[in-house]
Amino acid sequence: MIQYLSQNGDAVLAALRQHVVLAVLPLLLGALLALPVGYLAVRFRWLYHPLLNVSGVVYAIPSLALFVTLPFVLGTRILDPLNIVVALGLYTLALMARTVADGLRSVDPQVVAAATAMGYTPLRRLVAVELPLALPVVLAGLRVAAVSNISLVSVGALIGVGGLGALFTRGFQLFWTAPILVGVVLSVLLAAAADLVIVLVQRALTPWTRASAGRA
């Protein structure tokens, strides 16, 4: 493993870099799009259950199936990284839209009522009260999305764009475990790192949850 790394350091690094981009870009895009969608599903209650169902169906579609179908829908080439970004962005959107909705629904209605009574306009209330209070739930969902994105990117190697997944296909073709082990370890470490970053962000953004956890 060490030997493989020392001889192929540059290639591994390039794969890692591609892996990060392919995982993080759709994560951010999907999460941003999920904010308005999740909000609408709370604002218009009848949208909530359809959202759950659509989100469930999208999430059920196997990743490889989505990867190979998108070129026909988007008109892209099969080797275009855009396919991966769009596919993972869709998964992220599906998961995060319902997470945002659940997060907003988890906010104590009495707090919302109090904010309204003190004269918050709906938009300011959303930004200053409801979204911050929904953050713990939303960020918990983001952790799941980040970790599964990172694990899914490598499937893209089967259509030629898969970050660390290239190490898996290479190892498989040569029947050689070293590159595969390197890829698995790096992928898991990357997932753990992403998870840790989000946990730290959450700590910084929601000091009040720590206070109550300390007391309990």
Binding site: G56, P62, L64, T69, V188, A192
Partner: protein, 247 residues
Amino acid sequence: MDESPYLFRAANWDPSRPGSIPDLLLAHLGYTGLAVLVGLAIALPVGFWIGHTGRGSFLAINAGNAGRALPTLGLLSLVVTLMGLGLTPVVVALVVLVVPPILTSSYAGIRSVDPAAVDAARGMGMTELQVLFRVELPMALPVLLGGLRSAVLQVVSTATVAAYAGLSGLGRLLIDGLALNDYGRVVAGAVVVAALAVALDLLIALVQRRVVSPGITGRGLARSRETAGTRAAVAGDSADRRAPAAP
């Protein structure tokens, strides 16, 4: 030669022909069923034991996260290069993916049971096994089935990838189609496997509807005015328990 799209060619639906869509579908279901059964046999007793006793909960809580972080293609390639080609290595890899979500959800399901109900059960003279099977398990079902759904989708998805390691199953259409530049075949594979995943998802939801007590889901219960609040809360809770699966 038939010029209609791959998905609609009659020959491709002839179950007696090896490599036909029904043949591949059956193989796909076979791998999925086998891996899920073996995974359940391993994870359920452990999850129940941890949930019931509260011992080793660290393991159960983190199993789900760790499982999600494992790159499926990497796992598959690793097991195959270590054990060789064939059915067993692939099923082993799939089982490794089934265990974490089942372990976590069976543990979490048991832990989610109202401690007062467990205390009452014990206080009325149930043995530990009776407490587990008559009280904890029925109440843990919604969470547990959420985990099962997650696991099944994960396996259906990864079994598709398994075609890469030379196995049969619907992944064949995708992998072979890509290799042959036969995009009709690729699309056919994608459509059928996606339909299979969604159908299995619905099936589990249906099973959940049948086996979970209406006292827990609140489904179909008459609404009495004074308890409407409690009922709604219970129903909302069960909807939220449908934890996301991994594609």
